[in-house]
Symmetry: C2
Subunit: 598 residues, 2 copies
């Protein structure tokens, strides 16, 4: 067993609820006893401040990591993420996971004995919801004497439980990490679930759910699993894994047996699932997913999130077409619009929905960086890493940004700052250290956003050319657009938005009317190349060229007032006169005029 494994672990059981204290379900019915199967890894601190709750997906269980015996060949379902030194580090944190209500892996569900009849519940088991599952998890924590959760983490249906936790128990959880999930299933996802359930229900062996002493409805469950499995993979990954290859021959069989590799793979997945899963649990759990609609009781997603207090890390995967990036982005938008602290990353992956189980490197970095930052805050008061820990290379990069010290001087301490195109978070880290600001960044490049998370900087991975996220009016003291204006496709939209969401906007850009540029065009007849405009016309990613004068005229169109202008020469020193001629770059502080008049 490798060092990064939690080793041999044991499933434990807790008997919760009672005649006097029953579990009241969303459907109105009650359960007077619920047995919960759970596992824990790592050590609980004396302060009990290091607890991470993991929530599992449709076919998961309490066995997240490690092995059940020395002979056990198959580790827990998220063993690549949970263990000593892994994304969820059991050297630092105390991890709990329990099988969901309605499941078939040790927690009470339709296969359990109905105490009133002495026979398995079958379809007499009450229909449960995601909220019901979370109620049972909360009861388990009470049983374990745990009052606070450092983090609740889960992918897919596990992510739904995370969302429910954040909304239902805002004072208990510090950080919420809903991964590859949604606040409600799409019509398409409901449709796939419905067809899967239909296959189970019409299986003649189903026997209205009372098959426990007979033949299980294996065909129906296998079909449901096959449909599900297709939706968990991307076409890209299926193409790579199977293409059109045949399983045992170079030639077609010309009959109706499975022959394409993808067919035999699905057959195999269907068969394996039948061996380990109860068809009734499939009905109950998939129905709970269909029913989940975080916004339903609140009127909107924004209102659902309004009373949450945790920080959020939302992660989606680019090729996930079941729980799409757009669905995660809707949650991010809703959280931002009610001014919550949310970090978002859309992880580049070919693996479809299954990526949350198959991309431990990037997702692990993200999760550990995010949780570590909050744990650092609990322990030291500082979320963001001190600058001294920055590597040399990044320090070098910062030295080339003459405008950083200028911006630093312009920003008031303890203010709230949004940095558009924040890169690796250097500026926000600098401002946090020097001015104790509360920062948020927006960055399009995944690797840079990841570096922000590692530093403890809250970041949204987003393309500002698609418009800014829906922040509330005046929710920031400063919105910064540093050297990014020349790359922006819709400058007017971005600047208008900056002036709406922040009291003042700080904009820096290279001056196209710098004297060297003028000379090159006027005397040499060539598109200018300067220190701040370094690329040839056919290379550059810069698509806008503007001078100080252009920007000032543009500000009039925006109905913006220029509060401060700092024009810098090629050494980063302020220019005192003829700035449109002598400045190589400029830093502007602008604000919306109080009387718009347009």
């Amino acid at each position: 067993m490798e060092d990064s494994s939690v080793g041999i672990v044991e499933t434990q059981y807790a008997d919760l609820f009672s005649e006097e204290n029953p579990l009241t379900l969303d459907c109105g019915r009650q359960l007077k006893s619920v047995r919960v199967a759970y596992e824990t890894y790592g050590q609980l601190t004396q302060e009990k401040d290091n607890v991470i709750l993991i929530c599992h997906a449709l076919s998961g269980d309490a066995h997240v990591a490690g092995y059940h015996s020395a002979e056990d060949k198959k580790p827990g379902w998220w063993d690549n993420m949970v263990g000593p030194g892994k994304g969820i580090d059991t050297n630092k944190y105390f991890v709990i996971c329990s099988n969901v209500l309605g499941g078939c892996k040790g927690t009470t569900g339709p296969a359990s004995i109905n105490p009133e009849t002495g026979r398995p519940w079958g379809l007499d088991f009450p229909v449960v919801t995601i909220a019901d599952m979370v109620k049972v998890q909360k009861a388990l924590l009470d049983y374990l004497g745990i009052e606070k959760l450092l983090a609740v983490v889960g992918g897919s249906m596990g992510g739904m439980q995370v969302l429910e936790w954040a909304v239902k128990f805002p004072d208990i959880i510090s950080t919420a990490l809903p991964i590859a999930t949604t606040a409600r299933l799409s019509a398409q996802a409901i449709a796939f679930n419905a067809v899967g359930r239909n296959a189970i229900l019409v299986d003649p062996d189903f026997n209205n759910g009372q098959y426990y002493d007979k033949k299980v409805p294996a065909h129906g469950l296998a079909i449901a699993r096959m449909i599900g499995h297709i939706t968990y993979l991307s076409e890209q990954s299926m193409h790579k894994k199977f293409g059109r290859s045949l399983r045992n021959s170079d030639n077609y069989r010309y009959d109706f047996q499975s022959e394409f590799s993808v067919e035999t793979y699905l057959d195999h997945q269907g068969q394996r699932f039948v061996e380990r899963f109860d068809p009734n649990s499939y009905l109950y759990i998939s129905k709970a997913m269909d029913y989940f609609d975080l916004a339903a009781n609140f009127g909107s997603l924004e209102q659902a999130f309004a009373e949450t207090k945790s920080r959020f890390l939302i992660a989606s995967f680019t090729s996930d077409w079941l729980f799409t990036p757009e669905q995660s982005q809707q949650m991010v938008q809703a959280l931002l619009s009610v001014d919550k602290d949310v970090t978002y990353c859309n992880i580049e992956s070919p693996y479809g929905h299954d990526a949350f189980l198959l991309e431990p490197e990037v997702l692990g970095d993200l999760i550990s960086g995010f949780i570590d930052a909050y744990y650092r805050k609990i322990r030291t008061g500082k979320t963001i890493l001190p600058i001294s820990k920055l590597d040399e290379e990044n320090q070098h990069m910062s030295r080339n940004r003459y405008e950083y010290p200028v911006i630093e001087k312009l920003i008031k301490p303890k203010s709230k700052v949004l940095d558009l195109g924040c890169g690796r978070g250097e500026l926000l880290q600098l401002l946090a250290e020097k001015a104790d600001i509360e920062g948020r960044g927006i960055e399009i490049v995944q690797e840079r956003a990841l570096e922000c998370v590692r530093r403890g900087v809250t970041v949204i991975q987003h393309d500002i050319d698609e418009g800014l996220p829906d922040f509330p009016d005046n929710s920031f003291d400063y919105a910064i657009l540093s050297q990014t204006l020349p790359e922006v496709h819709q400058p007017r939209v971005v600047l208008d938005e900056m002036l709406r969401i922040a009291k003042v906007a700080i904009v820096t850009f290279p001056n196209f009317a710098y004297w060297r540029a003028r000379i090159q065009l006027a005397w040499q007849g060539r598109a200018p190349i300067t220190h701040q405009l370094p690329s040839a016309w056919y290379h550059t990613e810069r698509i806008r060229f503007l001078s100080l004068k252009d920007f000032e005229i543009f500000c009039r169109k925006l109905n913006a007032e220029i509060i401060t202008k700092v024009a810098l020469d090629d050494k980063g020193k302020p220019v005192c006169c003829f700035d449109n001629l002598l400045a190589e770059q400029a830093v502007y502080v602008i604000t919306k005029k109080s009387n718009p008049g347009r």
Copy 2:
């Protein structure tokens, strides 16, 4: 019955093949008699040169358009496309469609009587392929005395038949229109088909295919249809149509009956399909789709297309995730790489795969424009419409393009010309009329590409920023990039490709070092705005600024020789001296240097 209907039509039957002349199938078995159900609309010309064959998809049949009786409420499956004045105009063309081999709508299939046993074939019916279906269609044409097809048109599985026609019978078909189809199913599509077949095969009523005098395996077929139906819609259209709405209540039922609208819709689709389709035919036809692989017998798609002689119109739909635009684009690439005449359009639509049945306007314009052009060529010798028919507005647009007459003079008659960013095809139409060139256009905007097709100009809808299609080396005499260079993201890649695929490249662009532009930057310190550079810095779509001098230096990097340069002033007159100062735009003719030396 409206005027645009073909009216009341009748399905006809032909008995084909015999003991002496059997149909030999791809699987090696033979059928000694095949009955084919077919319908025809419109009038056959005396020259028999106006025949359009339509091929139907999985659940289609011979009844394409019109009604079977005065009481008939449901017209044929493509009635919105086929009829007097419609996309496939029965006033002009003679249309034939037949039910496929293996089907259940009148053509011989598994429900037909096996003459050797006197009982329905069931699973004893031989497994058929798309090629077998096409062999039967060819036999039907022979029976009808038709030797030439003006066009073969089909969507989805119908498109597979079109591809098979083009490859197998290159001398018979003049134009091929494979719509929303693929040269082979993806692993994902095979997977969905496999699960659907599985549901039929494990249905206890299936009885190894001999259910004709018993209960049909309705549950299995319904599940197969439900799965299929989900794949025919887009998530976008499902969201719009159903969202998460409940069918008969505002509240959840908390049981396992269908309650979401999307569930009851799928139930309904499943039930309706069971009433009209034979489960065995579903097995045979879906298997034929899985087996179809146009490239398999040739080694590659390119080689499969190498001997085709027809013009192609390939159309895909943006939201089709079953037969994806990428799959259509692979066919386009393969056709271009073997120098075939192919027009391609990726039609913007929210309707998923079903769009080929639901977007009659755009698709109809495309189909009619394309077929009309070839029919015009047969009748008049000219594919492209004469310019005199252009509307005033377009003539006006052309007058603003001073470079057009210059280009016209540079092009040798009867040469082969590629126009990158060809817009509405004005330049290619002009060159066709004045210099009788053979033109091809590439254009990103759908509406402009459609206008090209209406004019008879061959066009590929494509974004040249994603690289040029894979044309063979030196397959054109001229490649033109007129006024598009400033919008190109990777100028080097595009120019290199132009010089590879054409003997010479013609490039026109506005001169950034025009004296008015120089003055504006040098004296006014502002980003220039001129007649040819009309937009302010924050508006423009132009992202490259270059002078004549910049371009000439760039040509050295490209190892290109400048053959001709025509510099034009702001009235479109040639500039005789100081062209980098006095020219507002320029036309360059360049070619690859014979000795690259790099």
